[in-house]
Symmetry: C2
Subunit: 411 residues, 2 copies
């Protein structure tokens, strides 16, 4: 480089993100670059979501536009090495959600080493990135933690119509990356996978290109790939009482290490798009129990009008999924539409990647899904992937780390 | 519905898009919904790209954020039926790019019929949607058009390192859908596929989640999944002279029906992400011939500084791809990053879906790609899909249609 000793203004602004941690000498040594995504040296762009808190971000957080979800298997049986990974991941997640790159600000200063960060999110905004970790049932076997496995972390029963692919199901742990920019979400999962090299391996992953749920009370419910709004009365991130009742594990619940956490059900639901598209409007609306244009329940005018369930057909989706049909069972939905190209028959491999959070899956997803065995929609969908994760409480401060309440002896 | 005879204000605004074409009676009949994506009844939101023009939109148009690309095979041998399809597609493309739904404004008014539009883009903005059609070499066999096949529409030679999957290659025709909202792009391809039912079938398709090229002169070049900026001196949509010289087929070129068109090369390039991520910064920068942070060519300070090719290693990517190494060969790039989940070994199935437009592929992509046989980057990438399409000129007005200059006897 010609001018490493007198960086140009744009280069200076690129280098100027972190102040304290940054060795300008590394830049002068050539080849080093700084890793800030923001122009402003002192304050990241406004669109960063706080990483620290009593609960993990990415649950009650207003739903971002895009998703990259990854399930991992743990390949080490060294508990200390795994705990070290959880701490390294936490630090990387703290940086990436703030809009910074992984690592100490420059590429470690060493041109001879691989860069700490893969670089494709350089120059992009924080984009409301959230990273949420969950632990699957199989993790508890690996490290002699079976006595700490929550009773609520059941093995999900087989549901009517399930056609699960084991290569799209399960996993020792998961990372849910949500962001308004897909490149930021993909970058985050890739860098966590890279940090975990030799200790974890991605079992399966799923990109979601369009959110199908809102956790913002005044927002329009986004449409799924059937063209319908669904899940209108989703729990909003501002509804403290409903979150406490239906989403967050309480201090009085067992086990104590899960207090402030939640349980996540992930289901890959393939839609038979081409068949659906040949179905009459009347039948489509009967099946959902809503009109297609406005999203109003049968007999009502507006999407958010209270549904009158008995006006719907007995097998209507809204009717069967409604809390009144399930002893009040209520879940927080955060699903995304996916399209993974085309299958061998020229049909879109598309559908809904369903994500739901709840305080207890035995009082949330399981009874609702059992009720949906009668759903008229089942003719047009198929569940092809499934996983359940215990989502631990939030990382409270800069010294805390993902999973501490489970793995730390003091907890 | 309770109030179809006195629509509520929000419903009225939903119904009020098209004025002339809209039968309010259909709404009163129940179940019918209007198909506007914009609040304003008279003017679509500002972010619609003009569909009519001498050239198709989606080539020189400033690159949108997201892509859904589909290659189709034609399953009918009825030329008239196929021409009818091209006309139907044109009308649907005209509507969707303007932010309207497919069909006559309501769901055909008939609750007993499938809706004209699948509905998932209802309420979304036009999102700068462009739809661009191209014709593959095999199409000319199907309808006795071999005498009209352009000489420039060659069968691409095999290049060093090619590992092409025929299920991700070729196609009788293609649709490139670009938009800032992926749901709008996916909706467009899905609805065109649906209109083509029985005449065409999707052969393969590809989603791109992040653009890797810019056709806006002042814009920063976006980064690819290797974390680098590439293709800095891309042709800008405002560079009329370079577009005329390198992209648009001229009136003096053969065949006449292609005047105003272009040729599109599509290549699915898988990146060996995990291997790349373990490569030193110095080696990465040597391979590209740029620094990673700023994107400046070797020995220079800024991305857009003129590269000094002899300062780079002989096998550096920038050096080998540069027009000066290829007798001036220049192409317009519009590629997108893709991530299609994970392969069976836990590696990201990710890379670059390369899209390049040029006036003559024999003077554009082919010599450049031959030159890249020596590219140091080849250790980290593999071309796994390939297709070439003749992209006809633009649709000039409301009576014109995609492919008229090829199929119409008057042309």
């Amino acid at each position: 480089m010609t001018d490493t000793n007198s960086p140009s203004p744009s280069r200076r602004s690129l280098l100027g993100w972190g102040g304290a941690g940054l060795a300008l000498g590394a830049a002068a040594a050539g080849g080093a670059v700084a890793m800030a995504r923001t122009e402003d040296a002192t304050e990241p762009a406004g669109s960063a979501i706080a990483f620290h808190g009593a609960h993990q971000a990415g649950i009650a957080t207003p739903v971002q536009d895009r998703l990259h979800f990854a399930a991992f298997d743990v390949t080490t049986d060294d508990r200390e090495a795994f705990v070290r990974l959880l701490k390294d991941w936490t630090e990387a997640a703290r940086r990436m959600t703030a809009g910074h790159a992984v690592g100490e600000g420059a590429y470690g200063g060493l041109a001879e080493a691989p860069p700490d960060d893969t670089g494709e999110a350089l120059g992009l905004k924080p984009s409301r990135l959230t990273l949420t970790i969950g632990f699957g049932p199989s993790l508890f076997e690996k490290f002699g933690l079976t006595d700490r496995r929550p009773e609520a972390l059941v093995d999900l029963p087989k549901f009517a119509g399930d056609n699960l692919d084991k290569n799209r199901s399960g996993g020792d742990l998961c990372i849910q990356a949500c962001a308004d920019d897909p490149q930021v979400a993909v970058h985050a999962v890739r860098n966590l996978a890279r940090i975990g090299f030799g200790k974890v391996v991605i079992r399966w992953s799923q990109l979601g290109f369009g959110k199908t749920s809102s956790t913002t009370p005044e927002a329009q419910t986004p449409r799924n790939l059937m063209g319908f709004k669904d899940g209108t009365r989703n729990i909003a991130g501002t509804e403290t009482d409903r979150l406490k009742k239906f989403v967050w594990v309480d201090e009085k619940d067992e086990p104590a290490w899960m207090a402030g956490g939640s349980y996540l059900v992930a289901r890959r639901i393939r839609m038979h798009i081409e068949t659906w598209d040949r179905t009459s409007l009347q039948e489509q609306e009967d099946i959902f129990g809503r009109d297609k244009g406005e999203g109003a329940p049968v007999g009502k005018a507006k999407e958010r009008d209270e549904p009158f369930l008995k006006a719907m057909k007995p097998d209507a989706h809204v009717r069967l999924a409604h809390p009144d049909s399930n002893h009040g069972a209520t879940i927080l939905r955060r699903g995304y539409s996916f399209t993974d190209g085309t299958d061998g028959l020229g049909r879109l491999d598309a559908g809904l990647f369903f994500l739901a959070y709840q305080r207890d899956v035995r009082k949330g997803f399981i009874p609702i899904q059992r009720s949906l065995a009668a759903d008229a929609l089942n003719e047009y969908i198929q569940h092809v992937g499934s996983a359940l994760f215990a989502v631990p409480p939030g990382v409270r401060d800069k010294d805390d780390w993902w999973g501490r309440t489970l793995f730390s002896k003091e907890a």
